[in-house]
């Protein structure tokens, strides 16, 4: 017996799958399963986070429903995965946030945005909030740079701390393979596997979504979202370096590096989440974990909002809309930061850890 009902079901499925093994060429979950004969909670959480939910093993399984063996690996592992996020959350008291994530995110986002708007209005008079500001330092007329930096550093550092503590608990629970260490080769392998979404390919033909015809659409939109996020992050980092090393203040002209990175990233963060949302809403219900759709949609919405407000800010920053848009953008980013450890964002972190463990296991075995 396991900690939860869904882990019991995952155990049952892994027993079925381990006596079949037809899917072993499809992704990493099944070869990882084959290295085990019995499954601890940690093993099952590991396998759940290794699963990319491409759906191939469901479409290819002769025992999937309506067969009496009722083998539905993608859905079972999706539920187990969502439950594992809460199980490893730090601090523990906030693990409940996952369950009501959609609501939590909307409230946090709304409050953050409102706080920034009211904050700007309170810090300045109305004419500043709705005034036209141009040239370097325009943003800081609404909020001093140091205040902005302190606020976001605090939120960001808290998010990092919470994520590190959570993934540490996960990493301990999934166990270390005998003789295995996270060597450079495994880390490189895991970065590649995560970076190219190697296992969201249904064994080569693509991901199964609304029907039994595979496509690469989810992979494309995920790539846009993920790399859009990274580009935006890079834009912020470069901006920070510009500020402290070169003494150049935001906003930057459209052709300058932070703005170029931000523009490209912003496009990804607008198009990617919309695509993922559409794919998700069309996805066959038997592949989905309906109970965590709030968490998924909440995260997608936050990324979209961040991208959208950023893009609008870029376009309209020399107009009177700049003040309110900056407030909205900063509010979205702030909300994104502080909800990161308690929402769908963590899937990337746990999946990377699982891929790293898998790379280690393969190298240890070889």
């Amino acid at each position: 017996m396991h900690g939860t009902r869904i882990l019991d079901e995952a155990d049952r499925l892994m027993t079925v799958c381990n006596s079949c093994r037809y899917c072993e060429g499809l992704c990493a979950v099944f070869p990882a399963m084959e290295m085990r004969r019995a499954f601890s909670d940690g093993d099952l959480n590991y396998l759940a986070n290794l699963c990319h939910s491409c759906g191939a093993c469901y479409v290819d399984c002769q025992f999937s429903p309506p067969h009496e063996f009722n083998v539905n690996v993608p859905q079972t592992l999706a539920i187990a995965r969502a439950e594992s996020y809460a199980a490893y959350a730090w601090p523990r008291a906030l693990s409940g946030a996952f369950a009501r994530n959609g609501l939590v995110i909307s409230i946090v986002a709304a409050l953050s945005m409102a706080a920034f708007i009211f904050g700007f209005a309170a810090l300045n008079d109305r004419s500043v909030l709705f005034g036209v500001h141009t040239g370097p330092g325009a943003f800081y007329r609404l909020m001093p740079h140091n205040a902005m930096a302190a606020l976001f550093s605090a939120a960001f550092l808290f998010a990092i701390l919470a994520l590190v503590m959570s993934v540490r608990a996960f990493w301990r629970d999934i166990g270390t393979p005998i003789g295995g260490r996270a060597d450079g080769g495994s880390i490189f392998q895991a970065i590649r596997d995560a970076g190219e979404l190697r296992y969201l390919h249904g064994g080569g033909v693509g991901c199964y979504n609304e029907d039994d015809k595979p496509t690469d659409r989810r992979k494309l939109f995920h790539h846009l979202t993920f790399y859009g996020f990274l580009l935006c992050f890079a834009a912020t980092s470069v901006g920070t370096l510009y500020h402290y090393l070169l003494g150049r203040e935001a906003p930057y002209p459209w052709w300058d590096l932070p703005a170029v990175l931000g523009t490209l990233g912003g496009i990804g963060l607008v198009v990617g989440p919309v695509g993922l949302f559409i794919a998700k809403s069309r996805r066959a219900p038997e592949l989905l974990d309906e109970s965590s759709s709030g968490m998924d949609v909440g995260f997608i919405a936050m990324l979209f909002l961040t991208g959208l407000t950023g893009m609008l800010l870029l376009i309209l920053r020399e107009t009177a809309a700049m003040g309110p848009l900056l407030a909205l953008h900063l509010g979205a980013v702030f909300a994104l930061f502080i909800t990161m450890p308690y929402g769908k964002f963590v899937h990337g972190i746990y999946r990377f850890a699982a891929l790293l463990r898998y790379a280690q296991e393969r190298r240890t075995e070889a």
Partner: protein
């Protein structure tokens, strides 16, 4: 779905789809009638995993050459010579090209990774298994414009003087219809799921058979064809049968109910007596004989008995072994006579001679002075807990079928080829497989003769 096609394919498995695709590529309009609902489409192909094809050199997925001659010798060995040499050699030659052709139809291979099958040289494994293969074939067929109807139960075939005219069918929606076609490809499988029919040859024992595939393989098309003058081939009692877990469902338990622990222990019947040399041969042959051996035992039940030292030596199993701390306790759980089981194990243990155990070769671990002997891999059963799997015959497919020629054209009872009827897959497997089985041959028969049948059926329709 119109009512007149160039080629009508009855059946929905590998052979049927290869025929449909080949016929469509040959320029014919094609309708596939699958008797099962969509989920259960594909008959036994749902449960297959690999295909045996001859090849002259190692490939990306195959570790070495497997020549036509070697394939032929393997076929000769498993069938004990009960095969049509002309057809068999033709099939083996064609299998070389099938290895590539099937990939062109969207089917993907994988290197053989795990499991217990050591078939990396001779057999190609479908990535994702048989259902993945089917999915690929259906996608390709539909993309090419082949029409497919599910839940399409054929109730009658209109055949005049060996000439197919029409098929009558009944569908849950749409009721009764008649489909006319210029050519027919029958690829509707064997009759293994038809217990009543099996009973004609096996008697009441057939009630204890478990059917590894879908309940839709009832042989109704085969029966109609034979009744309308198509020549019969094959021994009706011959089938591909393996020993599967007695706790498996009656139908469609598929691959995961099989056991390959025979070699690590002994097998006893309901009287707790051994009845066959558990160490006779290595995997492929061993796998294929135990179904029939168990079928010949009283009540068609047997028990694989082993001890705790070997539990990790074979594939993990769906159903856990039944365990007892003593032989008597295990016997109690299996409802065997404890005294008899203890006697059997004691005598067996006393007969085991020392040797070097190696389950990958025919090793020198043998028994002496016990009947039947265990001629390889014999080791004492003595470390508790004592464990057992109950097994029953698991029927995969039957060999009674329609006789065909090299064009996959059915032959009529008078020996004349039918004008427009072709057969492929298990419905004609008995032409090649008189008895016995070697892994992956069912798929070879299906793909090779399916492709030929489709091509020839389209050619006939165009003339």
């Amino acid at each position: 779905m119109g009512s007149k096609y160039d080629v009508l394919v009855i059946g929905g498995g590998n052979a049927a789809l290869c025929a449909a695709i080949a016929a469509r590529r040959g320029g014919a309009s094609v309708l596939v009638l699958e008797g099962a609902p969509k989920f259960y489409r594909g008959g036994n192909t749902r449960h297959t995993r690999n295909m045996r094809c001859a090849h002259d050199a190692a490939t990306e997925i195959l570790t070495g050459p497997y020549t036509e001659e070697e394939f032929w010798e393997d076929l000769l060995r498993v069938t004990g010579g009960q095969t049509d040499e002309v057809l068999a050699r033709h099939m083996i030659r064609e299998s070389k090209d099938i290895l590539n052709w099937i990939v062109e139809q969207g089917v993907r291979w994988q290197p053989s990774l795990g499991g217990t099958l050591s078939l990396g040289r001779t057999n190609s494994f479908f990535l994702g298994g048989g259902r993945a293969m089917l999915n690929a074939l259906y996608l390709t067929a539909e993309r090419l414009g082949v029409d497919v109807a599910y839940d399409a139960e054929v109730t009658d075939l209109v055949i005049e003087d060996g000439m197919f005219l029409a098929a009558r069918l009944k569908r849950p929606i749409g009721g009764e219809t008649e489909i006319r076609a210029t050519s027919l490809v029958a690829a509707a499988g064997g009759f293994e799921a038809n217990i009543e029919w099996l009973k004609q040859y096996w008697g009441e024992a057939a009630d204890n058979f478990l059917i590894r595939g879908t309940p839709y393989n009832r042989g109704s098309i085969l029966k109609m064809l034979l009744a309308k003058g198509v020549q019969e081939v094959g021994d009706p009692t011959q089938c591909h049968a393996v020993a599967i877990d007695a706790r498996a469902p009656k139908f469609d338990g598929g691959i995961i109910t099989r056991h390959d622990s025979v070699v690590f222990g002994i097998v006893v019947n309901k009287h707790a007596e051994r009845f066959y040399d558990e160490g006779e041969d290595i995997w492929p042959k061993r796998y294929a004989i135990w179904g029939r051996l168990v079928a010949a035992q009283p009540d068609q039940i047997a028990y694989i008995i082993f001890d705790s030292t070997v539990v990790t030596s074979f594939m993990p199993t769906l159903f856990p072994p039944i365990a007892g701390q003593t032989v008597a306790e295990l016997a109690g759980k299996l409802t065997l006579d404890p005294v008899a089981l203890e006697k059997t194990i004691t005598e067996f243990n006393a007969a085991v001679r020392p040797g070097t155990f190696d389950h990958t070769i025919l090793d020198d671990c043998v028994t002496e002075g016990v009947t039947p002997p265990k001629t390889h891999w014999a080791r004492k059963i003595e470390t508790p807990p004592f464990l057992a799997y109950p097994v029953r015959p698991g029927i995969t497919f039957t060999y009674l079928g329609t006789r065909v020629n090299k064009e996959s054209r059915m032959l009529m009872a008078d020996g004349k080829p039918s004008a427009n009827m072709f057969a492929a897959g298990e419905i004609m497997a008995g032409n090649v497989l008189g008895k016995g089985y070697a892994a992956g041959m069912g798929m070879t028969i299906g793909s090779v003769f399916g492709r030929i049948a489709g091509r020839e059926a389209a050619k006939h329709a165009r003339n």
